[in-house]
Symmetry: C2
Subunit: 211 residues, 2 copies
């Protein structure tokens, strides 16, 4: 992991429901990112976030009701930045870009914070649904939209997005990131694409054309 | 995960270095299994293990120097039971059996304890190496021996065991088990074998024969 360059995520675009003071939001998000990496979700408190961000606790509570809301929203928003503008015009281009972005995210402080949340899920069942509807949904949607674009271009059949082979597009990275801790870098991303993901896509496409 | 039947692991065989009182060892292991599932690695103490197992702390310290030794040894030994006698006579038979055993382990209390250790790794770097040399090495060795047998039978080329496609034999299960929490059961195991693992093995074999 040390070998992977930590690149800046692409600039975030605006969206509805954006708070009035985005710069203060960014300061709070940066504080959470540091605290999750350092102490983890369990030991993170609203007091520590307020102190680390240099804002009053009332400022935080005005926008987020609970620690879980605050952390899930922050980690989701930070992950979202890596998934924007993913349309390159071809499935192979889209896959390559999304997988490289995911690998960069994993090696970044956002990856450490996301992994910290995944660890906390083990003993806080309420986090499982929150993670699924937050950070995980961000990546699911990015991949689902990629498969939908590929289907519209005639590159894959309609069953790809929910298919088991589609799970392979992320699974090998997740396994190294969470279990084996072997390098997850750009070279590994390319190797997984060439030897696992693209062959499985070709096989599924051939199968759906033959069927 | 609830749908997966929790079957008993195969009986353990003896090995060198076995303690004099294996039944007491088993009681201590069962206590750790319960505590890891309930409170997690961080909150587990030698006192709690001794109380839960109904043995004196001296008994535990005679055999294990530290909490880390005790927990890693226990989780390794419990995982080992699922990997024994894996030779079925063919690669497809071996793969099917190992993958089904892994899926049963994930749905069992041993799986919950293993996942608890993986979560603890996030904030205890010393656990990363211990996990790699303990529970992870058990499964790595079982899969490596499976690829070696397949190579000896002429079913795959020599490069399979360390290959990236070989990582797919476990990665999809790990992703559901640790991240998406979608069902990991026997039907899923068969589907992953048919649509991901066996096609990749055939592709690698064809490639190594052509090359």
């Amino acid at each position: 992991m040390a070998a992977a360059p930590v690149t800046d995520p692409p600039a975030r675009t605006g969206r509805g429901g954006r708070p009035r003071d985005p710069s203060r939001d960014d300061v709070i998000r940066a504080a959470i990112l540091r605290l999750l990496g350092e102490v983890g979700y369990g030991a993170l408190t609203m007091d520590a976030v307020a102190a680390e961000a240099g804002v009053g606790k009332a400022t935080i509570y005005r926008r987020w009701r609970t620690k879980q809301d605050l952390v899930i929203d922050t980690v989701s928003e930070l992950n979202r930045a890596w998934t924007l503008d993913a349309d390159t015009g071809s499935l192979e281009g889209d896959l390559r870009q999304l997988v490289h972005r995911m690998v960069e995210m994993m090696a970044s402080p956002v990856g450490a914070a996301t992994r910290s949340l995944l660890a906390a899920m083990q003993h806080e069942p309420a986090l499982i649904d929150a993670f699924r509807e937050g950070p995980m949904a961000i990546w699911r949607r990015a991949f689902a939209e990629m498969w939908a674009r590929a289907q519209a271009r005639g590159e894959v059949g309609p069953g790809m997005t929910q298919s088991i082979p589609a799970e392979a597009a992320t699974a090998l990275f997740v396994q190294r990131w969470l279990v084996t801790r072997e390098p997850v870098d750009a070279a590994y991303a390319d190797a997984v694409l060439e030897r696992v993901v693209l062959p499985l896509v070709r096989q599924e496409t051939a199968g759906s054309r033959a069927g």
